[in-house]
């Protein structure tokens, strides 16, 4: 029998306040195989770790159970500690008596009973543990970045600068993302294009970066260090290599009625188009939905005027297959649809617009050349009202529970820019709270109020309606405690932001977890903020949670540094907790083969000696390089032939027995 030591951590008062440590220690001592048990205030501290090492040596322990926090937090810490005194790291088990017990219970008596059950389960399991030896796998020295906005570009540039090759896959025909649509940026008011477009050029010209635009990642297989991605490059109908971006085709295209997505539908574009003047690649693309040639086989004017013969109506989607060591998700965000907010009348009045639409109306490269006019009739507005938190901090089904974080600051920026450029326009802002944490942010807000005379009103809006050629905004002023009616020419809605709709699909493709709002989840909220819990998957930008440009750039750099840290390694240690086949039990039924998400199971015809009967049988064989130890096969196997090392059926049943025994 193994000699087992049990260590019960107080975690300060995190565990000790809800679990009686002494009782857990006393109960552990009664379990078979346990030769010593003790409590300690902080097991993860150096003192705690040395306590464990000394005990291993003194009692000649072959197995250790740590009753403490989640194994996701410190399993690696204690396994490494075991290794220092020559104990196989897989002889250490964690009983999670914090997240699974003390944090979710209030009653100390009940908490203690549960902690003892969890400890007993871990003791039962470790008595059946066997030493396991980790393997090695190689690292493909190339990274994939999904998304070509500011987050993806910054990550790609930082990785490329460290000497590794990066592919950026962008769904749109140009890189640049949302930031390319923005006019100016807070709190310095430098123009977004002036700081973004040079980065776009840097990315395009960097020898280590390949931009794969108008493309989507279709599938990803493999694991950290050895991902295989399939990328669909959609047909542009324009040869990217020969097109010079001269724009002659656009001037001749007779189909001019498609909504210009880049300007959020505020104006129209032709069917063959370059998304915006600074687009990269500066190459035209044909919209197959509206192109007369592609829909009705007529026209073809662009093809005849193109001097470099770049247009090819027969172009097909192209499939690219590449291998990567690491993948960065930078799929960004989109503002939510505000149609459901009927009281704000976005669908009923043309002059009710969203903040991103206002960005385009104020942008020198926008549909009005930067002249702020009413959308309905092109006239000059004299009163503009902003409404913040449209869909943010909203617990109804039409909004989002979270704070979108950027709206207070961009609304403040809009208000200030309007007052600066058009001092005759009165600007009102309805707010719930004004949230301005950030360097120079509150100072910025104060300037809007004190120097630029923006009228901030604490309260929410109940109704926006048209009367006498004006919009009337009915709201409550919570400071004066009265209902107010404000005449406006335009109403601007600071709509909440949500993850780009592609994020959900990308996350499931990468088996990266997402939260209820479809933001990708980080491995640890504080300590591992740019890594996904899935090894080799990293997070950059708003796909992980709302953030502004400075934060996005910082996080993008952090994600890049984690990628670089992975790609510099020549070998990765692989987990030995993989599936194995009991050849005597396997019937070759293929259930495991069908369920394995990693393609790790194959079949071999093997000569089997089954209690004296020699015959050739079809037996499942696990490829240890591909198996990720998910355990799906061991559940699917009807004969119990598939087992997961480190989590064998026997071990799991021993845990269940131990819990049920109490």
């Amino acid at each position: 029998m193994l000699k087992i030591g049990v260590f019960v951590c107080w975690c300060g008062s995190n565990i000790a306040a809800t679990v009686d440590i002494d009782q857990v220690v006393a109960a552990a001592k009664l379990q078979p195989g346990v030769v010593m048990a003790t409590g300690y205030q902080y097991m993860c501290s150096e003192n705690g770790q040395s306590l464990m090492r000394k005990a291993v040596e003194e009692y000649k322990l072959d197995g250790v159970v740590i009753c403490a926090c989640s194994p996701r937090m410190h399993e690696a810490t204690f396994r490494k500690n075991a290794q220092r005194v020559g104990l196989n790291p897989f002889m250490v088990e964690i009983a999670n008596i914090r997240e699974h017990c003390s944090w979710i219970h209030k009653d100390k008596e009940q908490g203690t009973i549960k902690a003892i059950a969890l400890a007993n389960a871990a003791i039962a399991k470790v008595s059946l543990n066997a030493p396991l030896i980790s393997g090695e796998s190689s690292v493909t020295k190339r990274a994939l970045v999904i998304g070509g906005g500011i987050a993806g570009l910054q990550t790609a540039l930082d990785i490329a600068e460290a000497g590794f090759e990066v592919d950026v896959v962008e769904r749109q025909a140009t890189i640049g993302g949302n930031m390319a649509k923005i006019d100016k940026t807070f709190p310095t008011l430098d123009c977004a294009a002036c700081i973004l477009t040079p980065k776009m050029v840097d990315a395009a010209s960097h020898e280590n970066i390949e931009l794969i635009t108008y493309s989507e990642v279709e599938s990803v297989k493999g694991f950290v260090g050895s991902f295989k991605a399939t990328i669909r490059k959609k047909a542009r109908y324009v040869n990217e290599k020969t097109c010079t971006g001269c724009g002659l085709c656009m001037s001749k295209c007779p189909s001019k009625k498609s909504k210009n997505e880049f300007n959020l539908g505020l104006d129209n574009r032709t069917s063959i188009f370059i998304p915006f003047a600074q687009a990269i690649p500066n190459v035209a693309v044909i919209d197959p939905q509206s192109c007369i040639k592609l829909t009705r086989d007529k026209c073809g004017l662009c093809q005849s005027v193109c001097e470099v013969k770049a247009i090819d109506f027969t172009m097909q989607d192209e499939i690219i297959e590449r291998e990567y060591g690491a993948i960065v998700v930078a799929t960004g965000f989109k503002p939510i649809e505000v149609d459901a907010f009927d009281e704000l009348g976005y669908t009923q009045n043309k002059d009710v617009i969203t903040s991103l639409e206002l960005e385009r109306l104020m942008n020198a490269a926008g549909p009005t050349g930067g002249k702020l006019v009413k959308v309905s009739d092109g006239s000059h507005p004299t009163d503009i009202t902003f409404i913040q938190c449209v869909g943010s901090r909203d617990c109804t089904s039409r909004g989002k529970e979270y704070c979108s974080k950027i709206c207070c600051m961009y609304t403040c920026k809009h208000a200030m820019l309007i007052r600066d450029k058009y001092p005759d326009i009165n600007v009102n802002v309805f707010y719930i709270d004004v949230r301005t944490p950030g360097k120079n942010y509150d100072e910025f807000y104060r300037r809007a109020v004190e120097d630029f005379g923006v009228n901030y009103i604490k309260g929410q809006v109940g109704k926006v309606y048209a009367e006498d050629g004006k919009l009337i905004v009915q709201g409550s002023d919570l400071i004066t405690n009265e209902q107010i009616f404000i005449k406006s020419d335009m109403v601007v809605l600071a709509s909440a932001i949500e993850p780009d709709p592609s994020a959900k699909k990308v996350a499931s493709m990468l088996t990266a977890s997402i939260d209820t709002n479809n933001f990708l989840t980080e491995a640890h909220a504080k300590l591992r903020p740019v890594e996904s819990p899935t090894a080799g998957i990293f997070l950059s930008g708003v796909c992980q949670g709302p953030k502004d440009i400075p934060e996005t750039v910082a996080q993008a750099g952090a994600a890049a540094s984690k990628v670089i840290g992975l790609l510099v390694k020549n070998k990765l240690v692989t987990s030995p907790c993989i599936a194995t086949t009991d050849e005597l039990l396997c019937s070759g039924c293929s259930n495991c083969f069908n369920i394995c998400p990693y393609g790790a199971i194959g079949y071999e015809d093997k000569l089997i000696n089954d209690h004296g009967i020699r015959e050739t049988r079809r037996i499942a064989v696990v490829n240890p390089a591909l198996c990720q130890g998910c355990g799906a096969c061991s559940v699917a196997c009807p004969s119990g032939a598939m087992d997961l090392l480190g989590y064998t059926n026997k071990q799991i049943m021993a845990e269940v027995d131990a819990i049920c025994k109490r």
Partner: protein, 261 residues
């Protein structure tokens, strides 16, 4: 199918027109409806308290009675509909309220929110269908510009009432169209008339009503329709002098259009 009918107290006193014209109209439309034998007051606004069970009991009894008859329950008064729907929602979804109400009531089988509560307008929309209604109109109210006055109780809380969009409803406009008149959409059609505040602060009710009437007239309404006796009371009685506008129950116009007024 026969529907159970819950008139409520007001329809037996102040709002008799709402009731009478509804009965005549349904007869004309060939829909059978029977008044519940032992209905009680819905409880008014009192059952809305989250922590009070006793005030919900009269609604629960009514709902259970309809369940025992195995018929959907038709309502007419906005306030009764509001209260019965919300109490029913509680009985279906709030185990605390459900258990306590059943413990007290001692029905043969516990009531768990089985009854389907349907407002008369929903019956017209979802069972009769506005297109069919239009076909049965013998006396279309041509040329009349009518504004729907929804008030607040029919529409909110929208997730529980599940009646129509609380901010941009269309059911009454569609109804007005079906009886041959021209619906006029005006911004304040879904705002509060002041409700019971008229009892303690008449000035506030007058302010609310004036705003509704101004808004309706500005958009060209000649008359208003409502489903709510309380709205009727405030709009017809508490406007400033000279501001008044004709307001009728929607069932009266329905009966007129069907030629049974």
């Amino acid at each position: 199918m026969i529907y159970s009918y819950y008139p409520g107290c007001t329809l037996k006193t102040k709002a008799k027109e709402l009731d009478i014209y509804a009965r005549r109209s349904l007869e004309a439309l060939g829909i059978q409806m029977e008044e519940l034998a032992d209905w009680q007051c819905c409880g008014g606004v009192y059952p809305m308290a989250k922590d009070e069970i006793a005030t919900k009991l009269s609604s629960v009894r009514t709902l259970n009675q309809a369940k025992e008859l195995g018929r959907p329950l038709i309502t007419l008064c906005s306030a009764c509909h509001h209260v019965l729907t919300l109490v029913n929602h509680d009985m279906k979804n709030d185990s605390n309220i459900r258990n306590k109400a059943n413990d007290y009531s001692k029905f043969d089988t516990p009531y768990k929110g089985e009854t389907e509560v349907i407002h008369f307008l929903q019956l017209l929309r979802d069972v009769v269908g506005f297109d069919n209604l239009k076909a049965k109109v013998t006396n279309p109210l041509k040329g009349r510009k009518i504004g729907a006055y929804y008030g607040c109780l029919l529409l909110r809380p929208s997730a529980k009432l599940a009646f129509d969009s609380p901010e941009n409803p269309t059911i009454m406009e569609d109804f007005i169209k079906a009886i041959g008149a021209t619906p006029v959409v005006y911004p304040f059609r879904n705002e509060c008339c002041g409700g019971y505040i008229a009892v303690t602060d008449k000035g506030q009710a007058t302010k609310n009503v004036d705003r509704i009437i101004d808004s309706a007239k500005y958009k060209g309404c000649d008359e208003l329709v409502t489903a709510c006796p309380l709205c009727m009371y405030n709009v017809s009685g508490n406007a400033s002098e000279g501001k008044d506008i004709s307001i009728k129950y929607f069932t009266e116009l329905l009966a007129e259009a069907l030629g049974v007024k």
